[in-house]
């Protein structure tokens, strides 16, 4: 990375959270845990490309450099600007998610990142939720990651409203107020089945929604 690039990257690292927070008024609510300097996987609902940015901006500045978002390679590797943002500014882990084999490789990348003592921001739904339900079923990667890394805290996170700010397919953002709620960490129980853990993880995320069922159609 050239001097200009690294200067630009560090400026953006300060500027982007400020912009994100002023558009969305994003408030961090630490409901089930405190912001601490320890290894964590934050797993959240996914409604927009801006999701990881909101969580990342909601963290205290000291935690940001070691917290890496996990994002889809198909979107973020397209074009120089996106690539610069995702690699140099946010130091994200980009993963392929199309085929079974690619997903296995992706899991390895995540394990490697955790081995380097980083924390991760993860969206276990696998894709942005455009349905009327609050959450899509979680992919099993979250379970495998939790089994392989019992020393890491898995923190459920609910992002409120972001998908109304910029829904999938729309280009004009609407400045609605968003909030990021951090819940109580969960871990895989002894002999807990994969499906049970995933269901528990999903419930932990949905339980943080400020007003239950708001986005569902009656």
């Amino acid at each position: 990375m050239s001097f200009v690039q690294s200067f630009l990257a560090s400026t953006l690292r300060i500027l982007v959270p400020l912009v994100a927070q002023s558009i969305t008024g994003a408030k961090a609510r630490w409901q089930g845990c405190k912001p601490e300097l320890r290894q964590r996987v934050y797993f959240a609902n996914h409604g927009s490309h801006g999701d990881f940015l909101l969580i990342w901006s909601a963290l205290p500045e000291a935690l940001r450099p070691m917290t890496w978002p996990v994002v889809g390679a198909d979107y973020w590797n397209k074009g120089g600007v996106r690539r610069f943002l995702i690699r140099n500014v946010f130091r994200a882990v980009t993963v392929e998610r199309e085929s079974q084999g690619e997903r296995r490789v992706a899991l390895e990348h995540l394990n490697e990142a955790l081995d380097e003592n980083g924390s991760l921001i993860l969206f276990p739904e696998g894709t942005r939720n455009t349905s009327d339900t609050q959450l899509l079923p979680f992919k099993s990667g979250l379970y495998h990651l939790a089994v392989a890394n019992p020393h890491v805290e898995f923190v459920p996170v609910w992002i409120e409203n972001i998908r109304r700010v910029l829904p999938k397919g729309d280009i004009l953002p609407v400045p609605l107020l968003c909030s990021v709620t951090f819940g109580e960490p969960i871990s895989v129980g002894e002999a807990e089945k994969k499906s049970d853990f995933l269901e528990r993880a999903q419930n932990a995320v949905v339980a943080l929604a400020p007003r239950d069922g708001k986005e569902s159609t009656p």
Binding site: G25, K27, T130, D132, N161, R163, R164, P167, D170, L172, V174, P175, L176, L177, R211, K214, E215, T217, P218
Partner: protein, 311 residues
């Protein structure tokens, strides 16, 4: 000296006294342990310094200042309101148009002093345009509810609030009065009524006015607040084109409309299952929690004044 100078001096004197009293109360209760009411009181007073300074700066900047201040206040309230609604993806364009087309245009009509369009633009053209924008995505699910909610948000946060800076465009029969001071009259009476209701309610409040809508509103607070605000309004006749009885009558009207505005907004908050509109202003809640007493009183005060006191 210009009456505005006396007024500004008086406002800051009252603020300084409140800060002094608030600090004294805080010091006295140090011994008996922390008291949330006094803590909240001091947070409120601190935010009042900030809000009043904003209004004074806007006043000194003239019409553009007031347009920017209340335009931003409309923006912040609309944002709080729409954030809590049950809109869907198919409403996205309608929301965008509300923020970035309808809101700026409504304030633009004030800048160019086009009263005719100012008064019918939202009730007629926005009313017709929004359902059209919302229907383009072809989603009939809860259509009626979604469109009506967005329109209510716009009418309260943008249309009603825009009548505050519009007071500056009135051509008063009494030409010696600065119409910008009508804004101070409205704000002082409406907010003064809120503050007096809060004080009387905290000191004497026993019987609740509307327990199902707002737990904090009491008969004692209401009567004391409205009576106090009526007297307060009467005592401000010298900054207005009104005589003392007229000023008192208008102040009574403003504080009653303010009370009902607050009650209606409380009912909406209850319906949406929140306590405050947001937590933007420390001690007060959201912007809309502060503006709720202006939502109904501003257009009524504007039109009564326009009917009876302009050329």
């Amino acid at each position: 000296m210009d009456p505005a100078h006396y007024l500004l001096f008086g406002i800051f004197a009252i603020l300084a006294i409140s800060t002094f009293v608030g600090n004294m109360l805080a010091r006295r209760q140090l011994a008996s342990g922390p008291n949330p009411v006094i803590k909240n009181l001091n947070a409120r007073i601190k935010s009042w310094w900030f809000m009043i300074t904003l209004v004074v700066v806007a006043f000194l900047a003239g019409l553009p200042g007031m347009i920017i201040l209340f335009g931003l206040a409309s923006f912040a309230s609309l944002r709080e309101f729409l954030s809590l609604l049950h809109t869907k993806r198919s409403d996205h364009l309608a929301l965008w148009v509300s923020f970035f087309v309808i809101l700026p245009l409504q304030y633009y009509w004030i800048v160019i002093d086009w009263y005719g369009v100012f008064s019918i633009f939202m009730p007629v053209y926005a009313f017709v345009a929004l359902p059209i924008v919302a229907v383009l995505r072809g989603d009939p699910n809860r259509y009626m509810q979604r469109v009506a909610e967005v329109q209510w948000a716009l009418m309260t946060c943008v249309y009603c609030v825009s009548h505050v800076p519009a007071l500056m465009t009135l051509k008063l029969s009494d030409q010696s009065t600065n119409p910008a001071l009508l804004i101070f009259f409205l704000l002082i009476v409406a907010q003064g009524s809120d503050v007096l209701q809060y004080i009387f309610g905290k000191l004497l409040g026993r019987r609740k006015v509307a327990p199902t809508l707002s737990p904090s509103k009491t008969w004692e607070g209401l009567i004391g607040g409205v009576a106090g605000a009526t007297l307060l309004g009467g005592s401000l006749w010298w900054i207005t084109p009104f005589n003392v009885p007229e000023a008192m009558a208008l102040a009574f009207l403003i504080s009653m409309m303010g009370f009902f505005g607050g009650l209606v907004m409380s009912a909406i908050k209850r319906d949406l299952k929140v306590k405050d509109w947001s937590d933007m202003i420390a001690g007060h809640g959201g912007t809309l929690d502060r503006l709720d007493s202006l939502v109904f009183s501003a257009p009524v005060f504007f039109h009564v004044t326009r009917y009876a006191f302009t050329v």
